[in-house]
Amino acid sequence: MSVRSSIAVLAVLAVVGLLVFGLVSKGSSGVALGDPAPTDPLPRLEGSGEGSLAEYKGQWVLVNFWASWCIPCKEEAPALEQFQSRYGGPGFTVLGIDSRDLTGDGRAFVERYGLSYPQLRDGDGSAAHDFGTTGVPENYLVDPSGKVRWLLRGPVGEEHLREQVAPFLPGSDS
């Protein structure tokens, strides 16, 4: 193979490599029922340091993606807080992930709705991308082994929580 042909092949391979890299790094992702939930660490919305879903291994966790500018998120917040008050403890917690939102707005939202469950911040939407969310709000129930057992793309209401989430939880009377 001549030098000129080698250069041409290398140039084509470089372009193909760039395209493949772009597809791999930006490509679609997401979790389905039974898949392990992503556990990459995220900054805490309130206070300092980072937190991760991995900290809750051994517990059921309802991961709730939300944003302060999202109207349905405002509607579901009281139901989530009520659910946390009733079931929250060593065996279960709601974990809020404030996605593509301003820190100040997120903190004000937590204060306004009196949310007592832990909150992480996903400013660049990387966690939302890893979970494969299509918007906010979205909810994922993760079992003690870290696998997704139930998900809802949209706001949860009291009825969803009572009829579809509560039966999974330890000590549920329903």
């Binding site: 140039a11 760039l18 890299f21 944003a67 302060s68 500018w69 999202c70 109207i71 593509r100 939102d101 301003l102 820190t103 707005d105 400013g123 660049d124 939407g125 990387s126």
Partner: protein
């Protein structure tokens, strides 16, 4: 006397005026920043976005402008909030640097290839596959032609 006073007065005016000019130059404007940053949820320039998230982002920028922050400081603050993808132009570091380097390298390679091609063409005295000059008939053909023409000579 008037000249003596004029010079220090001018110098003082320049000293006082300089910070004001610098501040005016650095003052950020919402419309200029909107052209350089994205609405992360919509995936478009903030200038074109009207979603609730975009409205909050614009309010955040307005607040920082009111606080006297420069354009660079505001963009840095947006990166802290939304990550580097909030910038409409990719950063000039890491893999994103290839967005700037690859087109320049490709242009240079193309220019070098073109220059080499032109040099080779000029050295060869013209295009390689140009039609060869028409040669005259061979001796045999010339004799045969003369004989044929003599046959028709009236």
């Amino acid at each position: 006397m008037r000249g003596r006073l004029l010079l220090p007065a001018l110098a003082l005016l320049m000293l006082l005026g300089a910070p004001a000019v610098a501040t005016a130059e650095e003052r950020a404007s919402l419309s200029e920043i909107e052209e350089q940053v994205m609405c992360p949820v919509c995936g478009t320039l903030l200038q074109l976005a009207e979603s609730p998230q975009a409205q909050r982002e614009k309010a955040f920028i307005r607040r920082l402008i009111a606080e006297g922050k420069t354009e660079g400081q505001i963009k840095d603050a947006l990166v802290v909030e939304y990550g580097e993808e909030v910038l409409a132009l990719p950063p000039d570091s890491g893999f994103s640097l290839s967005a700037y380097v690859v087109p320049i390298v490709a242009f240079l390679l193309a220019a070098i290839a073109l220059a080499m091609g032109v040099m080779r063409w000029r050295r060869g005295g013209g295009p390689r596959d140009a039609a060869p000059r028409a040669a005259g008939p061979s001796d045999d053909d010339a004799e045969r032609l003369d004989a044929d023409l003599a046959r028709y000579d009236l």
